[in-house]
Symmetry: C3
Subunit: 207 residues, 3 copies
């Protein structure tokens, strides 16, 4: 049964009555909302929220405490680590040169899965509404992808990327606020975490 | 009951049999199509059309004569005035620095609703397919947002904005046609309305 | 009945139990997945795949061997030829100056269908995730539209277009791989097809 509840510590799952859930790998406390479809062998951790009209494909891997807003599709080859925010209609991809596998000129390529390029979204990342991610990339921990960005290469930890194609415009704290640096040291105005800029390409949390 | 019909002036509502409608605030003559989900306490006026796979959240406010094409999500904090056109998969947002509220590093921010930034779409506006609107902005009356635009700031009344980030490229009539100006006066080739350019930043309907 | 099977050559259709299929014009071997909606008088050829949450409008024309990923909407006026790949949430449009037809200032325009501009997607084309196509254009055979592109004009056969607005960045083979040219001759590293560049604007398959 998909709806679990014990008298001890286990938190109840919520599966909306219109959702289709074909996997058994959904953690405790996770909610799956209306008209969503989670395929067999997809894995979703505990305490997640999967919005209306989402599609989670067999082979997708989703950690704990992940928020997936409405209309997202998480394909085979996509790994989403703990605490990630995926905005509405965010689009992942796993094929760099897609063709219809039913087109005779392309069907040979789809006789194996060599076309599949994996994507990894690391802990605490936020991906804004309608962003598109090209396949084969890694979004570093706590990075933020702005709404509407089209990401064509890796994003460093704590990086903020914007635009089409997405370019780095700054850095964000693990709590999500934009950081300002002075003499290579940044302090978050919100949660008071401090960061050191190693060079212009990487930032490290120091306190 | 959701389907109303009287023998007098009241126009029938249409709620598709697969739609989920949890609010009682839907005006007469409004249609809600397949697999759409309208939450409790959302408000939708009369004579609107809400396409397949839309999601209207509690707290969203939608006026009369509004056309919402398929796959749109209207969140809490979004106000849509009368006569607006919202193209397919248009994306609104209401949080400038989103994180998963389930991420311990961010959960404090979500203990109140201070993170929520409202958006207002004024009378007669059109928003093209797949446009993305950053939170906290106002789209002025009869403005047009082009398909695929990413809007990061307010748009003036009758303004036409295009691109990522969206920039103003011209002006449109209340009927939707693009205006050309000569000596600061513009006449719509379609509906013959006339406009005066006040400066390069605002336009006024004069006849 | 929608599910056909004969003991001879006819391939079975698959219609997911949650899909709404109102047309009778669906070819053999075609699959329609969960929460998809195909309207009356839409036409879909044989051996196609229509993903979850798609919407195919009355008047849309779809050929054979077409792959339509999740969340796509194919409107009246859109013609999709054989062997096309349409990525997730690709957005077509058919109205250049949309307004809500329910807005009194615009309703005259919607009293006829003169506003409708057709779009044609030719054989073997690929359209990447989340791309947006302005109305009234033709995508030439085997062209590729990159993920996240906003296409505002015709794309030549074998062309590769990228960005917002989409600009041509190169050429692709009928199998989907990017081509490199030397002395106006290109050979596909993957399928060994050869191409001749006629001028900088067109490319022809020569072997």
């Amino acid at each position: 049964m998909l709806c679990l509840q014990t008298s001890f510590t286990m938190k109840k799952q919520f599966i909306h009555q219109t959702a289709l859930v074909e996997t058994e790998s959904i953690g405790e406390g996770t909610s799956i909302w209306a008209f969503a479809h989670v395929m067999k062998h997809a894995r979703i951790g505990s305490n997640c929220n999967v919005g209306d009209h989402c599609f989670i494909e067999s082979g997708a891997e989703i950690g704990n405490n992940v928020t997936i807003k409405n209309g997202c599709m998480i394909w085979e080859g996509i790994t989403v680590e703990d605490g990630v925010f995926i905005g509405p209609n965010v689009l992942f991809t796993n094929d760099r040169y897609p063709r219809s596998p039913r087109l005779p000129e392309a069907e040979k390529r789809y006789s194996t899965k060599n076309w599949l390029l994996p994507t990894r979204i690391k802990r605490g990342v936020s991906i804004g509404a309608g962003a598109v991610l090209m396949p084969g990339i890694t979004i570093g921990k706590y990075a933020t992808v702005a709404a509407g960005a089209v990401v064509v290469k890796d994003v460093p930890a704590f990086g903020l990327v914007v635009g089409n194609p997405a370019r780095q415009r700054g850095w964000v704290c693990k709590c999500g606020q934009v950081l300002t640096f002075k003499n290579k040291i940044g302090e978050c105005q919100n949660c008071k975490s401090t960061f050191k800029m190693e060079n212009n390409l990487t930032v490290q949390l120091i306190g």
